[in-house]
């Protein structure tokens, strides 16, 4: 019961986080590629309730930022006029879930632009870019992990169930894949592709590469489970009654791998999100101006950005709740897996 509750708790956390990213258009106040050329590298604006005169406002507000006198990149708040934060107002066009054209945004300012996480070198809103960037990064992670698990599952099952030379061959190939320096392989692969890759192509390329590279580990795990499952009494019994290989795999053996697979998925997804970020950080991911979490961080490769604009690090922090969520889910899967262990299921019945 307790296990089930923590499980649900993590699912809700992840659901909310993903919901925000999926509905990025609604939660983000601005178009992620729109450049506000008057305000590059603007620091994050603070939300206030108490104004400069000490009056309490019901509605949170921000102060516009202006350059501090005799400085070229230090900003201070212009406290003459508070700009209240408006909710559910019309703004830039976007498509919710990719098809629903809308203009409604969760929040925004009326006469001023509100930059909760500051702006980047081109004056683009970091908060909007973070949400939209999550779409690319998280989706690449999910899809990549899905592909990996599918490949790993099929190969592991074949190797474990049929054994013999197939097992040896597949496992040697798996070891080869584990040993590959995949980051450098990617550099080599990128060199052979055409110069200009559209964002969509780049996205599928990353997903395909991530998916194809990492299957060895889940394959070995699945093989182990299949290996032990196929020697169990009820499997032998079924085979004795004349069950075919396909039936045995489908009905008795592969269901045993489900808890391993789910745990693996929860561990792999954050890993793959991180991998996508690494690729984009190095310039192998989706091209500008499309945001992804790795792209957002790639500005940090410049020393001047590293020491001058602390808010450029914020996208790195944003992934922490996602990772915690997935890892929490993984551990509760493991506990849940223990409840559904084969013996307890059989003896409990």
């Amino acid at each position: 019961m307790r296990v089930r509750r923590t499980f649900a708790k993590w699912l809700v956390v992840l659901g909310v986080l993903h919901g925000m990213v999926v509905c990025a258009g609604f939660f983000a106040p601005y178009d992620p590629v729109e450049q506000d050329r008057q305000s590059p590298y603007l620091p994050p604006m603070r939300l206030h309730l108490l104004d400069a005169h000490g009056h309490l406002h019901v509605r949170p507000f921000v102060y516009a930022l202006r350059l501090r006198e005799s400085s070229f990149d230090q900003f201070e708040e212009d406290t003459t006029e508070p700009h209240p934060v408006k909710f559910f107002l019309r703004g830039a066009r976007y498509r919710l879930l990719g098809f629903l054209p809308l203009r409604m945004h969760f929040f925004g300012g009326e006469n001023t632009r509100i930059y909760l996480l500051g702006t980047d070198a081109y004056g683009r809103d970091q908060f909007s870019r973070l949400l939209f960037g999550g779409q690319v990064s998280l989706f690449a992670g999910l899809l990549g992990a899905g592909v990996t698990l599918f490949i790993g599952w099929s190969i592991g099952a074949v190797a474990g169930y049929y054994g013999g030379w197939r097992d040896s061959l597949l496992m040697r190939v798996a070891e080869l894949f584990l040993a590959l320096p995949w980051l450098y392989l990617l550099f080599a692969l990128r060199a052979f592709l055409p110069l200009a890759v559209s964002p969509l192509e780049a996205f599928f390329l990353i997903t395909a590469v991530l998916g194809a590279v990492g299957w060895a580990r889940p394959a070995r795990l699945v093989r182990g489970v299949v290996l032990s499952a196929k020697e169990r009494d009820f499997v032998r019994a079924a085979r004795g009654f004349g069950a075919s290989n396909g039936y045995l795999l489908r009905r008795h053996i592969l269901p045993e791998t489900s808890s391993v697979l789910l745990t693996q998925a929860a561990i792999l997804i954050p890993q793959y999100v991180l991998a996508e970020m690494t690729l984009s950080f190095l310039g192998l991911g989706v091209p500008e101006p499309v945001p992804s979490w790795g792209n957002l961080l790639s500005g940090l490769q410049q020393y001047s950005v590293l020491v001058s604009y602390w808010w450029m690090y914020l996208p790195a922090l944003a992934m922490v709740p996602f990772f915690l969520g997935y890892l929490g889910l993984a551990s509760s899967f493991e506990e849940r897996g223990a409840v559904y262990k084969i013996e307890s299921r059989i003896w409990g019945m």
Binding site: R37, F72, R93, L195, V197, P287, P289, Y303, S304
Partner: protein, 599 residues
């Protein structure tokens, strides 16, 4: 490792000895025997008198390839060679005028075809061997030899014929030109006079191209510059020492250069240069990007950052206008139909927000650009050249006139379509190591999106970028930057001429592809042989106008020259011409002796 520390100790001891000498002997002598100066015709430099001794450390972005002026093509090699060699007539980087160097004086014949140059007497190479007219003859023989493939050869071809050199006596040579040459004596700037006694044997063996590696033994290499080779540590540094025979002195008769040693540290990139300078490991820094400049300006501990004003670098966008069918793919040929349209190029130019580039890329430390002559070049710019403000409306009108149309896309944003109904999409190449140009590309991408063009930015390693543009010619558009090496118009000649290698939109043409390129060729050729500055300027102005009308290069912006030095460095006056801070290296000195970088 041991060796290097021992060396350092040695230097330390030597500088202490020098300092002691200085203290005891007092001002006049400064350890240079006076009677020698009497025999030699030294060049006396005006300006602040410094004190002798010490070492100066600067960083280089990567290792120079060679010390040999005959094969040096990269900027780093040229920078190092610049302080080891000297020329007959030199362009003063501060005044941008020519002044005597190894040549004491020169005379131009009334017909403008022969230059009589008189060498200074009693000059010696850095290994102590005397310089005479034979060295000059040998030098020009080598530069003009087709088998040597010296990059200087093209400069010495006037009117299609090589310059001839004749010796009159030990100290006088006459240069004979086939045609009058507008640039005049500026020609001699940067042409290092080579030591015949060291190179003649290798030249006759045909092995000149193989000598002058950085690992050359110090006694096997000599020049007439202020510094000579001392030590090279692969991957780390190049140490040069004072040339005791250098031919310049300060106003009080003290022989230059002041510094005992000049050290070039090799670092991988611009950020590493900034870090080394910030930590005090190097004494000077130049070619600083605007963002790094403001980082360095924020906390000036013992150093000063200087904005020397607009330089001669121009950044521009250009489209692939190459003609050769067999080299371009069908896809590029299809896109070239747009690129060849003058209206299309003008529309792109009208849509580019140059002010935003200056503000966002250079943080205001630069200037918007509408022509090839950068604002740092005060004499050659054409003031009448139009500087149209950004106008998307004008861009749209131009495109409409050329038969382009717009489709109303699903998002309300529209896509630009050509006359065949195909959407206009292309990619822009930039160098992946140049953050400034990558930023420009991102801004232009957004500018052109507002015209409905779909542009992708492709960062590429700079060598493969150059290879694509000049060799395989497999690209749509590209952003590049060129820094003129001289304020004279002729320094950009290979950009102007259709046969030039830097005529980037369609380099090294056998015949000019268009009538306006032919017209520019004619103007530039005529300008070369015009005698007066006014005549040349008029022709050059016209060439600039034609370029602006046709927009083969869409000029973007020009950065200021940003540099910095420790406060202990005297005579630090960054110039807008290369080499920005080392141009007066012989006059640089350390104000309080020992307090500079130790390595």
């Amino acid at each position: 490792m041991k060796k290097t520390t021992a060396n350092c100790k040695c230097c330390g001891i030597r500088s202490i000895v020098l300092l002691l000498l200085f203290v005891f002997v007092g001002h006049q002598a400064i350890a240079f025997p006076q009677e020698k100066i009497g025999k030699e015709e030294l060049l006396v430099l005006p300006g602040e008198v410094g004190r002798a001794g010490g070492r100066l450390v600067v960083s280089l972005r990567g290792e120079p390839k060679t010390l040999n002026p005959l094969i040096a093509a990269d900027a780093r090699s040229r920078e190092v060679i610049g302080v080891m060699q000297a020329d007959l007539v030199h362009i003063n980087r501060a005044t941008q005028q020519t002044e005597p160097a190894l040549a004491k004086s020169w005379k131009i014949s009334p017909d403008g075809l022969s230059y009589t140059i008189v060498l200074r007497r009693g000059l010696k190479f850095s290994d102590g061997q005397p310089l005479d007219a034979d060295d000059v003859l040998f030098t020009f023989r080598v530069y003009l030899d087709e088998n040597v493939h010296a990059p200087q050869r093209d400069l010495l071809m006037v009117g299609g014929k090589p310059i001839t050199v004749r010796k009159v006596d030990e100290h006088t040579v006459v240069f004979q030109l086939a045609k009058t040459y507008g640039v005049g004596e500026r020609l001699f700037d940067g042409l290092a006079i080579l030591p015949r006694h060291l190179l003649e044997k290798r030249y006759e063996e045909g092995k000149l191209g193989q000598i002058g590696s950085l690992a050359t033994a110090a006694d096997q290499w000599a020049g007439l510059g202020p510094f000579r080779l001392k030590e090279y540590v692969a991957g780390q540094r190049l140490v040069l020492e004072r040339n005791p025979y250098y031919w310049k002195s300060d106003a009080q008769g003290g022989r230059l250069p002041y510094l005992d040693e000049l050290v070039f540290l090799f670092v991988p990139n611009a950020d590493a240069q900034v870090l080394k300078f910030q930590s005090g490991e190097t004494d000077m820094i130049s070619q600083v990007g605007a963002e790094n400049f403001s980082v360095l300006s924020k906390q000036q501990h013992g150093y000063t950052m200087v904005d020397a004003g607009p330089g001669l670098e121009y950044n521009f966008l250009f489209f692939n206008l190459n003609d050769s069918i067999e080299k371009t793919s069908p896809d590029i040929q299809r896109k070239q139909k747009w690129f060849r349209e003058v209206n299309f190029r003008q529309a792109v130019s009208a849509a580019v927000d140059r002010e935003a580039i200056v503000r966002l890329v250079y943080q205001g430390r630069g200037a918007a650009l509408w022509g090839l002559v950068a604002p740092g070049n005060r004499r050659w710019g054409n003031e009448k050249l139009p500087h149209p403000a950004r106008s998307l409306d004008r861009a749209r009108t131009l495109l409409k006139e050329a038969g382009f149309s717009w489709s109303n896309g699903p998002d309300g944003g529209s896509t630009l379509l050509d006359s065949d109904g195909k959407s206009v999409e292309f990619s822009i190449l930039t160098s992946s190591t140049n953050a400034d140009r990558a930023k420009m590309a991102a801004l232009i991408q957004d500018d052109l999106k507002q015209l409905g063009m779909r542009v992708q930015v492709v960062p590429l390693e700079s060598r493969s970028l150059l290879d694509r543009v000049t060799q395989s010619r497999d690209y749509d558009a590209c952003i590049m930057g060129i820094a003129s090496y001289d304020a004279d118009a002729n320094s950009d000649i290979s950009v102007w001429l259709s046969s030039g290698g830097l005529h980037l939109w369609s380099p090294s043409q056998a015949h000019p592809a268009t009538s306006w390129e032919a017209e520019i060729d004619r103007l530039i050729e005529e300008q070369m042989s015009a005698r007066t500055f006014e005549q040349r300027k008029k022709l050059y102005d016209r060439a600039q106008e034609i370029l602006a009308e046709n927009q083969p290069m869409i000029f973007l912006a020009s950065p200021n020259i940003l540099a910095g030095a420790k406060n202990s460095i005297g005579n630090f006056h960054p110039a807008v011409l290369e080499p920005y801070v080392l141009w007066n290296v012989e006059q640089l000195y350390l104000k309080n002796g020992m307090e500079n970088a130790t390595r």
